[in-house]
């Protein structure tokens, strides 16, 4: 979608529900994406590089930890604002949104929620200003959907802990100054802060990704890695702690992928209106219109779902299962829309001149990470039946 013309997608006049602040912040992030992300992202995607030079700019805007209280360097903004930021960033690229999600929901959130006062005061302002970058290590080579089976373990030793094990698929791993690492201490999952450069800790970048290429994905390897005892997240305990973080991140994904769908729809709408075949715009054929009608309807439904989810989150009545529904739905419709848009652009759909193929590739990761489509389904299934079907 040519950046100057992008006006979002607002079929149900949702703008009437957003406050002046919410709209102003969304539009500011939209400007940022138009001017800073879209002109460079295809190249970074092709080169498999994360545009790290954008990070200080994003920090200055306050995009990291916007919903963290101001005393810790956050903005004290509500969750609709947070959602809209994610929506706009992911319209640019899922890799950019992933960076912001990890920094905010998977690093600042666990430190804020499970950290000691000293940890909060030390880390949160530095993470908000992006002086420090974080990552979140839960998934392991043999434990993805079933993180409770993790092998990585921590052992209490004089003055601290020894960590052994390996994590895989960790966003920002190689560029992170601090990793929030989940490991079993005496059989119970606990969170630890492992700083870059700690002996016995390395974070090699993973290669060969055909999706989320403008994002750093890494392994985290711990070999008798000693960390001082102040680096445990004291208030974490059990698998519930990392799952609480995932709820936060899924919330951002639910909004973000709507942004991805909005970009694909806007692009294909413009394209099919101007592409002439058989003497008519392609948009005038009924089959095209059926697809466009599907897209705009699903985007509108997803927007409303996210908006309500934001209200529930701000009101304190949101349950993790609510988030699963929205993550599952947004990723599913975004993938369908990206895929349809790809076809509707014909051969042009595979070119880097249009954002579609990149988004289509990216959504494959996003649909899988932070809990696959199937896992969200089982979470909902258990919630409505009371019968867990995981095992």
């Amino acid at each position: 979608m040519s950046k100057e013309n992008y006006k979002g997608v607002d079929y149900y006049l949702l703008d009437e529900l957003f406050t002046e602040d919410e709209k102003a912040i969304r539009d500011t992030v939209r400007d940022f994406v138009n001017n800073e992300v879209l002109p460079i992202i295809e190249k970074y995607n092709q080169d498999m590089k994360f545009p790290i030079q954008l990070v200080p700019l994003m920090a200055e805007m306050g995009l990291f930890g916007p919903n963290i209280p101001e005393q810790y360097g956050g903005m004290g903004a509500n969750n609709i604002v947070y959602g809209l930021i994610m929506q706009e960033l992911e319209r640019g690229d899922s890799g950019i949104r992933s960076f912001a999600s990890v920094q905010t929901s998977l690093v600042m959130y666990p430190i804020f929620t499970f950290g000691s006062e000293e940890q909060k005061q030390y880390w949160l302002p530095k993470l908000a200003s992006a002086e420090k970058i974080g990552c979140f290590g839960l998934t392991e080579p043999d434990f993805g959907s079933n993180p409770g089976g993790m092998i990585t373990k921590a052992e209490e030793v004089d003055g601290g802990y020894l960590i052994n094990g390996a994590k895989m698929w960790i966003t920002n791993g190689t560029i992170a100054d601090v990793a929030v690492v989940w490991a079993k201490l005496n059989g119970k999952v606990k969170g630890f802060l492992v700083e870059k450069g700690t002996q016995g800790f390395s974070a090699p970048e993973m290669k060969g990704k055909l999706s989320l290429r403008a994002s750093v994905t890494s392994e985290l390897v711990f070999e008798d890695c000693f960390i001082p005892k102040e680096n445990i997240l004291p208030n974490s305990g059990g698998l519930k702690s990392p799952l609480m973080c995932l709820t936060q991140a899924r919330y951002g994904i639910a909004w973000g992928t709507v942004g991805l769908a909005m970009e694909c729809y806007s692009t294909v709408l413009e394209y099919t209106k101007s592409r002439i075949q058989f003497g008519k715009p392609v948009a005038q054929f009924q089959i095209t219109q059926e697809k466009l009608a599907y897209m705009v309807t699903e985007i509108t439904k997803a927007q409303l779902l996210c908006y309500r989810l934001g209200q529930l989150k701000d009101g304190g009545t949101m349950r993790p299962q609510h988030v699963s529904m929205a993550k599952r739905n947004s990723c599913e419709i975004a993938k369908n829309i990206a895929s349809m848009a790809r076809e509707m652009l014909g051969a042009n759909g595979i070119l880097d001149e249009y954002p579609i193929m990149r988004h289509l590739n990216n959504i494959e990761s996003v649909k899988t990470y932070e809990g696959t489509h199937e896992m969200q389904t089982l979470i909902l299934g258990e919630d409505v039946t009371g019968l867990p079907a995981f095992q």
Partner: protein, 249 residues
């Protein structure tokens, strides 16, 4: 130091302009209004000076209530105080704007006054110069680099095929050109704070206008192109068309 930035609200540059029913102004239905892009450079320069040396900063706009949006955007970027001079009607020309701004600036007495080099609605480039004349102040336009010392400014401006460096005493008026700085993206906190910041309202001091819009017309639609398909054999016909129809040879 006291710095004033004169800001205006203009239709978004992607607007497809339609003429209103009066035939003398544009139809504003469905038009999004933004802070004039050149004013963003002016605002940024003022905010940077404030951050460097603690200047007092003002954004001033002349227009209807809607112009408060321009001031709010300036607030979001870091300007501290705003003044809206309320126009008596929607029918005002450059001179009326300049006269009102000059009267307000005369009262405020800033050391440095910024404008965008032009506003992208009418592209008149008239107002900063008129204000300078009315206030009898030095004026440097199309400025791409600025150094402010205690009593003087050194401004670099674009000229045909080169640049010109001008030193001027303060107070002075500076017209900001693209390249002067990189206007910041407002920070979330200042966006949230800008909403509750008050804007001082002043009555208009002049509404006489020196010019009158008689009518406003869209440029004529481009005619369809013509393709002569017989290769070299079309040459004679082409010459005939260029002479008799296009009348360019």
């Amino acid at each position: 130091m006291k710095i004033a930035v004169c800001v205006s609200l203009v239709p978004d540059s992607t607007t497809k302009v339609k003429i209103g029913s009066s035939g003398k102004s544009i139809d504003e239905n469905g038009v999004t209004f933004i802070l004039n892009p050149y004013d963003e450079y002016a605002v940024e320069e003022a905010v940077q000076l404030k951050e460097k040396s603690g200047a007092e900063t003002y954004a001033i706009s002349f227009g209807s209530d809607r112009s408060k949006e321009a001031i709010k955007k300036a607030y979001q970027m870091g300007i501290e105080k705003g003044i809206l001079i309320k126009a008596n009607s929607d029918d005002y020309d450059s001179y009326t704007v300049a006269k009102n701004l000059a009267d307000a600036l005369n009262e405020l007495k800033p050391d440095l006054i910024f404008f965008g080099k032009q506003s992208i609605d009418f592209d008149g480039m008239a107002i900063p110069g008129m204000v300078a004349t009315l206030l009898n102040l030095p004026f440097v336009n199309v400025v791409t680099k600025l150094d402010v010392n205690r009593n003087e400014v050194t401004a670099e401006r674009e000229i045909e095929g080169g640049k010109e460096i001008i030193v001027s005493a303060l107070p002075a008026i500076i017209g900001a050109q693209k390249g002067l700085n990189n206007p910041r993206y407002p920070n979330l906190k200042s966006i949230m704070a800008s909403k509750s910041k008050p804007i001082e309202e002043k009555n208009s001091t002049y509404s006489g206008n020196k010019t009158e819009v008689i009518s406003m017309n869209l440029p004529p639609a481009k005619g369809k192109g013509k393709i002569l398909e017989n290769g070299a054999e079309s040459a004679a016909e082409l010459v005939k068309l260029l002479r008799d129809e296009a009348k360019i040879i």
